[in-house]
């Protein structure tokens, strides 16, 4: 049986969460909150209303760590049915982490503070799908600065047409993940500082369908 999971961020004041609980129907409730929140009176009141709620503990001042935890929670819940996010509770950083996670995983997201606002997430459009197989091939080959020729021939040897590799390289430049420049008479390619943030996405093989 498919379940509807609502993942909500929460701070000390449960009143930021209640509007989304009223508005968004769910079978399972997951609260994403910091350690101090879980000990708070607001959390105890909410648990009294929803004894079956699950809690994901995060550091609400660590945006990247919180985002990864929320993404994992989304992926896990999506195996059992639909997922929605309510991003209006908790710290500003936790809210932003939830918004980023919703866009990266392509799940419906709401901001209810106090009026409900649905964020323009395209459902099912996940970040991993943005990268072509040739772009993934480049990411596997590019660990530091390399000459353009060596990179292109290396990726082409994985079974990609040279023209496809060149197109993929330009696409990665456009996305801000790779930088191309001339140095010492050769054209060099190197990962941008932002590349590391996407290494996991680039290495993951997307599901078909």
């Amino acid at each position: 049986m498919a379940h509807r999971t609502l993942i909500a961020t929460m701070g000390f004041d449960e009143r930021h969460v209640l509007p989304s609980l009223r508005l968004l129907p769910y079978d399972r409730l997951v609260l994403v909150a910091g350690r101090e929140t879980v000990r708070s009176a607001g959390f105890r009141r909410l648990r009294a209303l929803e004894p079956a709620l699950r809690t994901v503990r995060v550091d609400p001042f660590d945006l990247m760590g919180s985002m990864e935890s929320i993404r994992e929670t989304i992926r896990s819940a999506a195996k059992d049915g639909s997922v929605r996010i309510s991003a209006s509770g908790g710290t500003k950083i936790l809210t932003n982490a939830a918004i980023l996670a919703a866009f990266q995983e392509g799940v419906e997201a709401w901001y209810c503070d106090p009026d409900p606002v649905r964020l323009p997430v395209l459902q099912g459009v996940v970040l991993d799908a943005v990268f072509s197989p040739a772009e993934r091939g480049i990411a596997r080959a590019l660990h530091g600065p390399m000459t353009h020729d060596r990179l292109v021939s290396g990726v082409a040897s994985q079974g990609f047409a040279r023209r496809t590799v060149l197109g993929a390289l330009q696409s990665l430049v456009g996305k801000g993940l790779v930088e191309i420049g001339r140095d010492g008479g050769s054209v060099w390619v190197r990962p941008s500082p932002r590349f590391a943030l996407f290494r996991d996405h680039l290495r993951r093989v997307p599901k078909k369908g």
Binding site: M64, T95, P120, V121, G124, G176, G181, D183
Partner: protein, 235 residues
């Protein structure tokens, strides 16, 4: 022997555009709360900084922080604009306002960056939404270390997740939100076959961009309505 890494000169890799024009000037956008320290690291770290545009609330402490940021920018000889944003507006309204400013700077050919660390939750989240939709490199600044942390955003428009045809259909529905359209009426209005329209509507529905709802006056008819918030996706 000189290694490839040590030979590398980062300045030659800053621009992927024509080299004779030089790297474009940077406009830094930011949200500001009570602490100027949340924005200053991005001002210091921006290369070719031409201008700083930041948003702040009408709170007295936020105005104090504004004065400090403006003083800092002037001491560096960098142009600066401060925009006061009221929390009386909703998230999408504030995001729409920021997006209009961002697009104006982008049309002028500037490279854009955004620091979303400061300001109210509403302001910061609205800025993040704009960065996601417009593909603007964004950072936040750690509360204690004041270290700049880049966010995982690509330089691509989020709206590219729609095909041009899907975009046309969604745009038509958003502009005619107050009217009711069946798939057949939509097909007629946009000049495509109804089977083609059915395909586009199904794809848009799967992405959560539209919903097909029963007509309250005739249960046999399904009305196609855009989902809330899609105005911002289309820009």
């Amino acid at each position: 022997m000189v290694s490839a890494r040590s030979r590398f000169d980062r300045r030659k890799f800053l621009s992927s555009g024509p080299t004779d024009l030089g790297p474009p000037m940077t406009v830094l956008f930011g949200t500001l709360g009570w602490r100027p320290q949340s924005l200053l690291p991005s001002i210091r770290s921006s290369e070719n900084l031409e201008r700083v545009v930041f948003y702040h609330s009408d709170h007295a402490k936020s105005r104090e922080a504004r004065a400090k940021v403006m003083e800092f920018c002037r001491s560096l000889g960098v142009a600066v604009s401060a925009v006061e944003v009221s929390d009386a507006f909703d998230l999408l309204h504030v995001a729409g306002q920021i997006r209009a400013d961002v697009r104006k700077e982008r049309a002028a050919g500037s490279d854009l960056r955004f620091n979303i660390a400061g300001g109210t939750r509403l302001m910061s989240s609205a800025a993040l939404l704009v960065c996601i939709l417009e593909g603007i490199p964004a950072t936040y600044v750690h509360d204690e270390t004041y270290q700049e942390i880049p966010l995982p955003l690509l330089r691509i428009s989020y709206g590219a997740g729609l095909t041009p045809k899907q975009r046309d259909v969604l745009s038509f529905l958003v502009h005619n939100r107050d009217k009711d359209f069946t798939e057949t009426a939509l097909a007629k209005a946009l000049g495509v076959h109804k089977a083609t329209m059915n395909h586009h509507v199904r794809e848009l529905e799967a992405k959560g961009a539209v919903a097909r709802l029963s007509d309250p006056t005739d249960a046999r008819r399904l009305i196609v309505k855009p989902a809330p918030g899609m105005e911002l996706l289309l820009g």
